[in-house]
Symmetry: C2
Subunit: 679 residues, 2 copies
């Protein structure tokens, strides 16, 4: 029984503790030989620690430890540094170890990326946004009469929302900021005032940053002064917006009626049936090591069922939100959320709403843009859920009267990331039949543009002056299935019809379905374009048969409503080239740990990681394989996205289902089984 | 508030009461002027009452009553009679009314079907199966030594499973029966012995029925006597099967370990928040009239949200299970479950497993193949479910700190049909955002063939001698949406990219998505083939705009993993031609109430109703429209289908989602809303 696995094993995947993070920071401060400024205060021309996270040990090393009785891999951290104060400013990545008492650091930048990483690719820090805001505020001072007219504002009650990417070619760091009326206690994302500004913040010296362009409701200006002049000259049509009031503002979530009687609640008569120790959950044969990467978010390792590893790594890679609009900010926006921080923006979960009251809530710790670890309390939850559906059942009144069945109780591991306006609910679910279900729901506020002109070519109007801008949510996962060992192949199965004479009279024709099985030999065959129907069954197969002589397999089943992928002739397409495929199966490489990079957002024109390069027609039979899965949906916001996008219908994901992996459904052994008969 | 609607209104859709059924039976017995034999005893050469169900009044009449203050439509029944004892044996359908004291009957057969319905199209009754079984048992007596060898049997412990259709041309009634070891208390469907027999039971005189053909493990024989001879001559290879023992048999659901601690349960601190009166459920603005058709199963009417009708009728139409095999029974099987009885085989639901303990359980009554109504106790359940997911939420730490959200509590109406071996779980779900979710899960036993030869071309081996035969489950729904009135049009929306110069510098290219809206004018454009990608958004639109000037609409979103539809050159394809389309939108016709007929199963070569004929390119703008939706999945049984197919990953369905129907998400008015902020 997996419950017996020595707990310490899964610690090899454990996120860094706050103490470990602090040790790494102190080590770096003492051993890099360069001055380091705290990231929250660092100017672009300073050096700072951007982040410290676990350096996940190499798979071979981990497996030697877990399976082969080998030594525990040394515990190491990955530290990312922004070196602004160097002759050649750059981003450097160091492996620091061994923890808890670091004694060495190794610059792995060139090894990981094949060269130095230019400084301009770094994500924008909080400090940089503060400095940009100051610039915008200064510039707004040049248009007092316009602002009073358009927005009942002196600029200070406007908030600037960033877009990305920031330009059109490598080295650009020129960002459109969209201005909204700020309303305390509600989402300002629905209250654009029509004003957007283009800021060049590429220079290492903040004093040299400039406002390049101003947009207001369909027109472009060279400066806020120009805008003011035009307004004063009476040559500008202004939509006069009132400063919105908190209670009446579009998108307010303040309850309109007093609380009513509570709905159904879940309780656990004898307490939880799962257990959480350190970074490991166990539940009815399942064992899962969990963690959070500050950038890419949830990551699971060493998913075992009944002691057998099924998945070595199951991790979120990226979330792309690609927008449309007739305003410049909206039409430029292709957010790569990993570069903002899907993990570190997974905040506290609200008991009884985000997860059941009875759930187990776990803290996560991050070191990002600061020298001291930050704790996101209760930001990951684990619970068993009664789905109010049978897992399986049969009622018989034919020949004999009996009933058998089993409830579908599911272990859920959940975290929710708030990425500026919207919230992604990340679920990983484990079923009694040995299936894993991965699911993401989108909720939170939509983003919006000021409604003007032919706005409805780009979305729906959802408020007096608000255009809910069409966009897609495409999400990428890495699934390193290891089905009955590391060496797997990929098999497709699908149905066809054959016309045959009925064998008993040969007088008539039967359209008989048959099963077509195929082994895919090469990576290129195993890269399935988005939106093209895939073979109906697709499995990772082991060379070993089950009792009935079928190869032990796990099937991948995808549920997705993806939009159209960015055309491949786009200059930034390679940065999101994972989005070309709903499923791509590649040979696992230690050098291909992720399908993207946080550096892709600010230089998508020279992507630091281009997933398309992983697919180079290598042989994929009897190899350690990885499935890369894209799910998503096209989101055309509509009135009912106010105040928030609902999760109903906005969930996508995939299943990993045993397919001849066992000799029978493993749930037959469940102590939850119910059976009775008339005998 | 819809709660105020006079209860009696929904009774217009109410299933017949047992008393009403009995009244109709008595009326028919007294007024048809022909001798009627009880169906459970009736020979093919007798007359009998096949079924009595509600005759749903015409929509125009109902709407005059519900909306226009018109008179309550007379309450009527539809009685189906099998007239075997007539010069020209036939099936006749009578409308009988008014209830409760019937005074008239009207033969509607010709009006409904354009002609008489030949007798050979009638479903096979229980009595007919009993007679067939007697014949099979007699015939088996001709092969005693073979049976002893193959099956440790004298035939009496073998059970014969029907297949369908029954031949190759109109008039045929020749059925392959597959023989299984019968094991009390478990599903015999997994224990085929390799023997199958072809029975001609078309003659009105049972004495003239004959066994046409015998199949054993890959070979065909003219009779059981021939089989015995061949065996005795030592020319037959026999797989010697033991009589299976109940506890060890493949597919046993008897628990293997004692019950453990209970998992999470749902409780309702202040009792249910929905209410059920007669045939109407109300819940948080929702009002739904529910019922069951004995053949087609669940049917909902007059689905309203906040007093506005959204759907006039939402009803299951058909479930097709189309099999593959290298045995004759399996390769012939295309079950049309409606002809067996999706409604009347919806049995008692097990509290705490099929539905939560706290659910409300409702009895249903059927009159089918008998003269006395039968009650299926607790066979429909209604409950509110805590899905343990937010319906929507946002956590803000940007600009101001606040949290708002709402749990996703869903009203579920459920019934489960056991169609011989498998069980379909029919769910209708109602969400706080005005969305309806329709879902079906398949579970229960798979069907199987005796494993021999190249069996794995048609499925997977799942036991020593059992081939889990590949099949598809295709399910058809009728959705008569009435969005803001009856007159609707169909609009598609989808995204495309356009390459544009950035408007602020015109130096660079942006791939800007835009929204393409299209009204579909004709039925032919609105018939979307199975397995071909559809436009991403597809809505029923009203001529009236919401507050933001978008047409009030409901969007249809389908989740399906359908298999391949039967080739259209198949001689029986027109009988299941609804399966050509994942979605077809037609003008609503009172004369096109259903997409199929119970008579299609036994004469699919001259289908009584051919859905394809509904699609005749009529104009569909500003008309009363119906959406016909096919969902399903290809099922290649695998070892884990033993003992039962699990619901995980085997659920399909569709959403009806408000799309600019409201001015904002109606859930803002929920008293379940949660909000707090730092202020
Ligand atoms: Ca490769
Ligand atoms: Ca692998
Ligand atoms: Ca038509
Ligand atoms: Ca309609
Ligand atoms: Cu969205
Ligand atoms: Cu099936």
């Amino acid at each position: 029984e997996q419950e017996d696995i020595e707990d310490g094993q899964s610690l090899v995947f454990a996120d860094l503790t706050p103490e470990e993070m602090s040790q790494v920071v102190r080590y770096l401060q003492g051993h890099l030989g360069v001055p380091l400024v705290e990231a929250s205060r660092a100017k672009p021309s300073d050096n700072c620690i951007a982040s410290v996270d676990l350096q996940v040990p190499a798979k071979a090393e981990v497996l030697r430890f877990l399976d082969g009785g080998g030594a525990r891999p040394p515990r190491e951290a990955l530290a990312v540094l922004y070196f602004g104060k160097q002759p050649e400013p750059n981003i450097s990545e160091y492996v620091v170890g061994p923890l808890p008492g670091p004694a060495y650091h190794r610059d792995v930048t060139v090894q990981k990326y094949g060269g130095k990483v230019p400084y301009h690719r770094r994500p924008v820090t909080g400090k940089e946004y503060v400095d940009i805001n100051a610039l915008i505020q200064r510039e707004l001072k040049q248009a007092p009469r316009f602002l009073a007219a358009c927005c009942e504002s002196d600029g200070t009650n406007l908030v600037a929302l960033t877009t990305a990417p920031r330009g059109f070619k490598s080295g650009d760091r020129v960002t459109w900021f969209v201005l909204f009326h700020n309303v305390a206690g509600t989402g300002y994302y629905l209250s654009p005032v029509g004003l957007e500004v283009l800021v060049d913040h590429g220079d290492l010296h903040v004093s040299r940053w400039k406002l390049h362009k101003v947009f207001y409701s369909g027109r472009y200006f060279a400066s806020t002064g120009d805008l003011e002049q035009e307004f004063v000259a009476g040559a500008l049509e202004v939509v006069r917006l009132k400063q919105p009031q908190a209670d009446a503002v579009l998108g307010s979530m303040k309850p309109r009626c007093p609380p009513g009687s509570p709905g159904p609640l879940q309780f656990e008569p004898q307490g939880p049936r799962y257990s959480v120790r350190n970074n490991r959950v166990t539940f009815q044969g399942w064992s899962i090591a969990f963690g959070m990467n500050p950038n890419t978010g949830p990551r699971l390792f060493d998913i075992r069922y009944r002691g057998e590893r099924i998945v070595y790594e199951l991790s979120l890679q990226e979330a792309l939100a690609l927008y449309s609009s007739n305003c410049p900010g909206g039409m430029s926006t292709r957010y790569l959320d990993g570069s903002f921080g899907i993990g570190r923006f997974a905040y506290e979960l609200i008991q009884g709403l985000d997860c059941p009251y009875t759930a187990t809530y776990v803290d996560r710790h991050y070191l990002a843009e600061t020298d001291t670890p930050k704790t996101n309390q209760n930001s990951l939850c684990i619970f068993e859920h009664d789905s109010a559906l049978p897992l399986r059942r049969h009622f018989s009144d034919s020949q004999s009267f009996y009933y058998g069945g089993l409830r579908k109780n599911t272990l859920v591991i959940r975290t929710i990331s708030t990425l500026i306006n919207y919230d992604y609910i990340w679920d990983f679910m484990f079923h009694a039949n040995g299936a894993v279900e991965v699911r993401v729901h989108a909720t939170g506020y939509i983003s919006s543009s000021f409604f003007h002109g032919r706005g409805t070519d780009y979305g729906n109007r959802v408020g007096p002056h608000t255009l809910g801008t069409m966009h897609l949510h495409h999400i990428h996962y890495k699934v390193d299935l290891d089905v009955d060992g590391q060496l797997n192949s990929l098999e497709t199965q699908d149905m066809e019809y054959q016309f045959v004479k009925d064998p008993w009279s040969t007088q008539n024709t039967i359209e008989r379905p048959y099963l077509r099985r195929e082994r895919l030999e090469k990576e290129d065959e195993a890269a399935f374009p988005l939106n093209v129907p895939m073979p109906r069954y697709l499995s990772f197969v082991s060379p070993n048969p089950n009792k009935w002589e079928h190869p032990r397999s796990y099937r991948i089943q995808i549920i997705s409503f993806a939009g159209k992928h960015l055309p491949t002739n786009s200059s930034m397409e390679r940065a999101v080239s994972w989005g070309r495929y709903q499923l791509a199966v590649t040979r696992r490489k230690e050098e291909e740990p992720t399908s993207t990079s946080v550096y892709n957002q600010n230089d998508p024109w020279t992507p630091t990681v281009a997933f398309a390069d992983f697919i180079n027609n290598e042989t994929i039979t009897n190899e350690d394989l990885v499935a890369w899965i894209t799910v998503g949906f096209l989101h055309v916001p509509h009135a009912e996205d106010i105040p928030n996008t609902v999760t109903v219908g906005n969930g996508v994901g995939f299943f990993l289902r045993p397919y001849n992996y066992f000799n029978e459904d493993p749930s037959v052994d469940s102590s939850d089984s119910v059976y009775f008969s008339s005998e």
